[in-house]
Symmetry: C2
DNA sequence: CGCGGGATCTAGTCGTTGACAAGTTCGCGG
DNA sequence: CCGCGAACTTGTCAACGACTAGATCCCGCG
């Protein structure tokens, strides 16, 4: 179903998107080529453009899908702590999405679909902070938690934490980090 | 001095590097074109290649210079807290360097100059953690501090913290965040 | 049944880029 | 003054993004 149909591909959009995620994950967004993706899908070099308009359009679609998945992942976690873990888990399970999402110069930041998905993710993020934040500074706590999770996830993906984590599970390490900083007695 | 010389440019390497940093800062690493940089410097399209070999070589040079500057910045800060602030300050004052440094798929990670500079920066980072870490888990504290600073800096550069910070100074906000998480009584 | 229209894909082309090769100019030491 | 290497130029090729025009298919409507 995902592959060979005679003329109409069936679901070329998804095929190209999936292939793009594969390339981004293994070689980075810079290595992305519409023509290469077309070859992988077995279609002509201009076929992907019909679904994504542009190379930028493709990356915009990746970012939009990423934010949508991200919002779902966050929504599934109960409190702030688990939401942080979910943040890190999303980065490891969807590295390509994550990588593109936080490089706004790669895509169109004014895309309607993208904005909707991003707003949803942001709302989930804020809701997470609301479950904690007993001390007077919810905004500051939010920035702190977000920075911690995002920094951990980013360093993890860029390979700067491989020796620090070792052969342990990254999520478990992050859980300990969160426990270290966010449990001085209150909570 | 920086511009017109007859045949020999004088310091084309630096001129190209500076122009590259300018492009990366304003349009991102993806928009980087050797031919465009050559045009800006007023030299032929192949001149930059003589100094950097490759597009990848140019980005490797950017990353190497970035890590060197980064190590200097960190070394100038006394304790862990100030080192965190210095981390954020580096990201805001050298956004192009920072952006490239933490995208290893853009450059050659086995370059000798790069490795030397990165090792120096890593050593400074570790030394910073050594000044604090009174509780039993220095490694975990290090990961926490690094993640916090790196996450804050990254989110700041990607524009995800602009409304949260508002018109205040980013460094000052980060100082408060650090105070919030790293001062439960000890220190 | 067939036919028309829109969505999907193909084929061809143009300007730009990265990479490479070979030649040219410059400066500097012997 | 000469030659030798570094710095730079000119020319070229394959690949890519973007665009256009046209072919093919699917689907509903008469």
């Amino acid at each position: 179903m995902t592959s060979d149909r005679a003329y109409h591909h069936g679901d070329l959009r998804r095929a190209v998107l999936t292939a793009a995620l594969d390339v981004i994950r293994t070689e980075g967004p810079a290595a992305l080529s519409l023509r290469d993706l077309a070859r992988r899908a077995g279609v002509s070099h201009a076929a992907p453009a019909h679904h994504f308009k542009d190379r930028t359009g493709l990356l915009t679609a990746v970012a939009a899908e990423g934010y949508a998945l991200f919002a779902d992942t966050l929504a599934a976690a109960p409190d702030l702590r688990e939401r942080g873990v979910a943040y890190v888990r999303f980065a490891t399970t969807h590295p390509a999405h994550f990588q593109v999402m936080f490089q706004p110069d790669l895509y169109r930041t004014d895309d309607p679909d993208l904005l909707a998905a991003k707003d949803r993710a942001t709302a989930e993020l804020r809701a997470g902070v609301a479950t904690l934040a007993p001390t007077g500074a919810p905004r500051l706590t939010g920035i702190a938690a977000w920075s911690l999770a995002h920094g951990f996830a980013t360093l993890l993906l860029s390979g700067n934490l491989t020796d620090a984590v070792g052969d342990r599970d990254a999520e478990e390490v992050f859980r300990e980090v969160g426990r270290l900083l966010f449990t001085p007695g209150r909570d």
